[in-house]
Subunit: 146 residues, 2 copies
DNA sequence: CTGAGTAAGTTCAACAAACGAACTCACTCG
DNA sequence: CGAGTGAGTTCGTTTGTTGAACTTACTCAG
C-alpha cells in the first residue's frame, strides 16, 4: 500500500502538497534559501537522516526546484542550487513564516525576523489578491471551473 | 523512533511544517474551506483512510485550527468548524495554490480558478511585503535575530 | 607508500505510520 | 425488529523513517 499520491489531482493545492507534504522538504528548501548547497551542509544544519536527505534532494531535482551541479570532477563533488522554479517557491515558505509567526508563538514574537539587506527594514510577508492588492477575504472566495 | 518533531524549533517555517508537513493535513484544511464539516464528508471528498482522518482532525483541533462542535446530542454527532486561527491559515493554502498553478502545470492553466463571490472577478494570490506592497525579492532577504 | 581525512552517499535493522477493509457503537426511523 | 446512519475503532499488511555503520573515490601530509 503505497502512500497516496496527489500529483495528478486537478487542484494546485493538491499538487503542491504532493511535493512538500512531508516533514523535511520545506526545511530542505529553507536551508537552500539560507545558502546551503552541499550534502553535509544540509545534514549538519537539519540533523536529517542521510537516506532521507538523498531521497528529498533527488525529488527536488527531478521536480525542477534544485539543480545538481558538479563543482569538482575528481573526486566527484556536487552542489544543489535553486532553479527559477525553486526560487519562486519562496512565496510558500514566506506564507508559512507569516502564519507561524502570527499563530504558533504565544504572546511574544519569534526570536528571528526577515529584513531587507539594502534598507535594513523588516520584511513582513502577506498574501494578497494580485488584482486588488488587498488581503483575501476567505468568506467571499469561490472555486470555479476556468 | 518517532517522526522528528519541529514544534519547538525557533523558526516559524519549522513550526508550521511540523503541523502541515504531511500529505493529508493541507487537503483536510482545503476541504474545510470548501465547507466540509462532517467526518464522512471529508472521507467522501478525499478518500482518506478513516484512521488517518481521525488522527488529523484531532491534531487540528488540539492545535486550534478547527473546533469540534456537537450539532446533535442523541445520537452524538459532530461538526468541525474553522476557528480564527484556521481561517488565517488560508494564506498558506493560497500561496500553495499560486505556486502550484504557476509551476505544477505544463503550459495550460489549471482547470479551476478562484473568484470573488461578489464581484465575480478572478482572485490571484500573491505574496508581498506588507510594508511595501511589493513582491519579495529573495536575493535581498536576510534572517536576523529580533 | 601509508594512513588519515573528506564529501557524498548506501545499507541495514528496528520501529512508526499509512492503507483499506471490516467491525463497533449509539442511536432513529419505518 | 431490522435497516440505516454518522462517527469513529481495530487489524493485518505494506511502506516510510530513523540512526548508526559502512562504502567509494579520491587528496594530502608524513
Amino acid at each position: 500500500m503505497r502512500r497516496t499520491r496527489f500529483d495528478d489531482w486537478p487542484c494546485p493545492i493538491a499538487r503542491t502538497t504532493d511535493l512538500i507534504g512531508d516533514w523535511w522538504t520545506p526545511l530542505v528548501m529553507r536551508e537552500a534559501f539560507l545558502g546551503r548547497k552541499r550534502f553535509d551542509e544540509f545534514i549538519d544544519a537539519l540533523g536529517i537522516p542521510r537516506a532521507v536527505l538523498t531521497d528529498r534532494l533527488d525529488r527536488l531535482v527531478t521536480e525542477g526546484l534544485l539543480r545538481k551541479v558538479t563543482y569538482e570532477e575528481r573526486p566527484p563533488r556536487f552542489e544543489y542550487k535553486l532553479t527559477e522554479k525553486g526560487l519562486a517557491f519562496y512565496d510558500v515558505l514566506a506564507a508559512m513564516w507569516r502564519w507561524g509567526a502570527d499563530w504558533q508563538w504565544g504572546d511574544e514574537a519569534p526570536p528571528i525576523k526577515l529584513v531587507d539587506r539594502d534598507t535594513g527594514k523588516e520584511v513582513v510577508p502577506a498574501v494578497v489578491d494580485e488584482n486588488t492588492g488587498q488581503r483575501i477575504d476567505v468568506r467571499r472566495l469561490r472555486v470555479r471551473p476556468r
